[in-house]
Each structure stands twice: as C-alpha cells, then as structure tokens.
Symmetry: C2
Subunit: 309 residues, 2 copies
C-alpha cells in the first residue's frame, strides 16, 4: 500500500483526469424506474440509494480516479442509510476507485480521534475510507488527531479552507493580522501538507477550496505548493472548467474537481434530457462524466496528463 | 408539543438542575463486567455500548433534564454503532430525557438540509433528536437550513462559538474589526436566538461555550441574552462549578452543563474508586451525578431553581 497522496496522483495519471464523482443521492431526483413506491420507508429508500450509487460506480469506475460519498444524504435515512453507505464505499473500492468521505467532521481530543479511527484507512477502520473532509473551526489540536491517524494509516484529509457557498465569506473572509481567516487556516494546512509530502510532491493533508472563487484558487495554489485541492462547486453550483484552471500545477496535478448533481442527475438536465430517456440514465451519467473530463483537459493543465479518454 | 427551548427550561425547573450527561462510550473505560470478549467485533462492541448507555440512562433519567450522545463514538463502530445510537436515543426519550445529539455537523445548502431533516425532531426524523450541535465555519447560509428545520419542528440547535480545548483559540480568538472571531459568530447566533425566543426567554438556537474560559462565559452571557449555552469541559477537562457560574442568568436558567467521562466512568476516578467496586459502577454514576448537581446548586445561581434533590 502506498500513501493516499501518491495513490491519488497515480490514479489521476492512469485515467488522465482529475474528476471526482460526488455521490449525493436524493430521493426526489432519482430515476423514476428505481422509485417503485409512493410512500417508501427509510429502509427502502436506503436500499434504492445503495442500488443507485452502485450503478453510478459501475459506469464511472473506468473513467475517474475517485468518488466522494456525501455522508449527510445517507445519514438522513438513519441506521439503514449508514448501512447503505458502507456498502457503497466497499463497491467503489472493489472497482478500483479511491473513496473520499465527505463528512466535514470535526471535534476535539479523543472525540476527533474516534472519528479518525473509525473512518480513515481502507481495511483498517469501520468505514474504511481512503480520505475524509474535516472542519478546522475547533483549532489546531482538533486537527492533530486526524493528521496522526491519516499518517499512520497512509490515508488522506481535506480541510475546509474556502467553501463554495455564497455566504462562505461571512466568517472565512474576516481580516485578521492583514489576511483573511481562510489564509490563516491555509497556513496550518500547508504546514501539515509539507511535512507529509509524498513522492508526488503533495501531502496527506489537503484543502477544500470552492470552484466559485477563481482568484482565490490562484492565490491559494501559490501559497500551498504541497496541498492537494478538493474543488467542489463545479457544474450545478456555477463553476466551469476555466474557473478551476488555477487549482492545478503546471503538470495537471494538485487538484481534484468534484461534480455531484451534474453527473448523478444528468438525465434531468437540459443538456442531456432530450438525448437520454429516463431508462438511459446510466448513459447520461457516462456522457456527463466524459464531457466534464474533456472540458477539464481542454481548458486546464489537466490536458497535460498522460493517457486519458 | 412545545418548543425545545421551553421544554428545556421546563425540565430544568422540574429536576432543579442544569446537568447534561454526555454519553461518550469508550471501550477501554467501560466496566469490565460488560466486556466479555478479548477480541470483540464491531457489532459486539456496539451492543455493549448500547447496553452501557441504556443502563446509564436508567440511573440518570430521574435526576437530570437531558443527555448528549456523542455521535463520534458510535460512528467509530460503523453501521452497528449507528444502530446502537438510534436505540440509545429512543431509550433516553422513553425515560423522559431530552436528547441533544453532539455531531458538530455543518455543510451548505441542500446538504445541510439533509442533516437537519434527518436528525432534528422527535418522531419527525430518522434520528429524532431534540437538538443538535452544529459548526458555523461555512457561514450564515450554512446555518439557515438547520434553523429553518429547527423552527418548523420545534427542536433546538447549539452552534460552536467558543470551544473548551486548549487550541480552540488559534482561529476562534483571531481579532477582526476589533473583536475576536467567536464574537462575530456569537452575534449571528444571538440574532437567531432572539427571533426564536420562547416563553422562557431563550431561543431555538443556542451556543456551545467551553467551561475552561470563565471570563468569556461572563462576557458572552451579557452579549447573548436570548441564547441557551451548552457548556462542555466540566469535570475531566478541568472546569469546576464556580467556573461556570457566569453562564447562568439570575434565575439559574440559560445554561446547561455537560459532564461525560466524569459521570460515565466515575467508578474509575480517584474520587469514587474506593467507595464503589466495579460491580457497583451504576452507583458510582449516580453518586457523581448527584455530587455535580449539588456543586452547581451550591456555587451558581442554579441553586435558585425550584425543586431539586
């Protein structure tokens, strides 16, 4: 087993793109053919979420390096949802994908350690994720337990730095000591990335930086040379391929770009609705994934990656 | 059904104290008589966690207004742990306790809504919690979905403002516009508390403020007159009854004080170890709870509450 950071670089080079498919199942948007009940129980919904996500994975596994299950949508269904999540993680890994769990977890001391120990490390924890998103508000000593477990288990972390929502700036952009809060957090992340850098040059501790702020992607790329960026907000949140160009280094590495709704529910979007009927929702998922790959390769340094479609 | 804020005030007055028992089960610290295996499976550990927490609830239900299960310790055990958590929540509510789920959840838009819809509201969601702790780093629009669901379901929220860990200040104390970050967050919380205030004077949106910062408890109590405080850090993290006095209003309301390890694992502490043998761990839980109640009534305005032991 190699370090998450090097594995991620290796998988990106192998498929020739940095696309992450976000697994955000939502009942209202699922293909009608899967929703065979008018008043589904939580347990039934969870089974459908599992079936849907496994089918998405079957389509995207040969195309992309990683998936990012959003824990909230599984947790919403109670214990049955969590059982479905566990199965989805295993199916993704069996099909060669890296799994970044999006939980934005954060706590202190032994509680942070419990999250880290339970979630991080394929075959070494209850959830077995390859990486996890975490929230830095509780401070440096809240990150340490996550970083320690990530190092020990050769897994990865992505710390919220600058998020993609319109109101993200309310606290993240507050200026202190001449720079915004997110830059203070970026410094701590880069310190930890630098000291855990793998062969690929990037470390175990990455950053979440929204696609809706192109200037800040440039600024942070320069300030955080050892830090993987996980970039949400592409597609349905308005980010386009050109907007995320600044997240990459000169070789097309250093960033992974997430798309959830734009891929999962492509069949419902104006772009694909006419071409793909309901029954062809998996073909729409494939088309949306291939289109995103092509756009990133055309408009960012990801085009310099080897291989590719 | 009445609002969470008024229910909390009512239950505090009924038992005459503001103690919250934190349900943080940890395998290493459990009574030996419950751990009947040398290499327990995750499923077995989850069953023991459930048994332990239910037994703690049986002891403390007549004594205190609420319990606070820490999601991390259940999540650490995978889907089985989450099933145990669900059962623990139900048992606490069946025994008349309010349940504050400590998940420190936080996300944006429809993802925050999924957490809120799945967790908040007794009998109205998969988890059915009466209240949830949340993390404000993602900004105002990340809080709104939680607040909207809390209002609609008459449940509660506690937003991280000033945490009890030594490194909590690294970001929370950064000065911007002449005041620390945590005061910026406190303003947003108080706005939401004020507009949701119940008959008791406190609102649906509370704040987490650590017991390890007595001066800041005074300062924030004055600045947040409509905000319930959930105060962690009592006991094993070093906070004492006198340290939390500033969290209360003149009538002994406005704050709930959490103790996890100091109560759950009282039998292992120097204070109770000799008096209570291993087999009497539940008696040690009761003694530690009664002692904490007595200390708070003696050294804070909680002594002005009616009733009490």
């Amino acid at each position: 087993m190699s370090r998450f950071s090097d594995q991620l670089a290796s998988q990106i080079r192998q498929v020739g793109n940095p696309v992450v498919v976000g697994l955000d199942p939502r009942w209202d948007l699922l293909p009608d053919e899967l929703k065979l009940s008018d008043s589904p129980s939580l347990h039934f919904q969870a089974e459908v979420f599992e079936k849907f996500c496994r089918a998405v994975i079957d389509v995207v596994a040969p195309l992309v390096p990683a998936v990012k299950p959003q824990m909230a949508f599984f947790e919403e269904l109670g214990p049955s949802g969590m059982t479905a999540l566990s199965s989805v993680i295993a199916h993704a890994q069996e099909n060669g994908l890296l799994v970044i769990l999006d939980g934005k977890r954060g706590d202190i001391g032994s509680t942070a350690e419990a999250y880290a120990r339970g979630i991080l490390g394929r075959g070494q924890s209850a959830w077995g994720a390859d990486a996890l998103t975490i929230n830095p508000y509780l401070g440096e000593d809240s990150l340490t337990p996550f970083v320690d477990v990530a190092i020990a288990r050769e897994s990865g972390l992505f710390v919220l730095v600058k998020t993609s929502n319109p109101g993200g700036g309310r606290f993240q952009d507050l200026i202190s000591d001449g720079r915004p809060l997110y830059r203070h957090i970026a410094e701590l992340v880069e310190e930890n990335a630098s000291r855990t850098a793998g062969v690929c040059g990037y470390g175990a501790v990455g950053a979440v930086v929204g696609a809706t702020y192109p200037n800040q992607l440039d600024e942070l790329r320069a300030a955080m040379p050892h830090t993987w960026f996980l970039v949400p907000g592409f597609g349905s949140q308005g980010g386009k391929a050109a907007d995320v160009a600044g997240a990459f280094d000169a070789h097309g590495l250093g960033a992974i770009i997430n798309n959830s709704r734009g891929i999962l529910f492509a069949q419902r979007s104006p772009r694909y609705r006419e071409k793909f009927q309901q029954a062809n929702w998996q073909a729409a998922v494939e088309a949306a994934t291939r289109d995103m790959i092509a756009e990133l390769r055309a408009e960012t340094s990801a085009g310099k990656l080897p291989g590719g479609g």
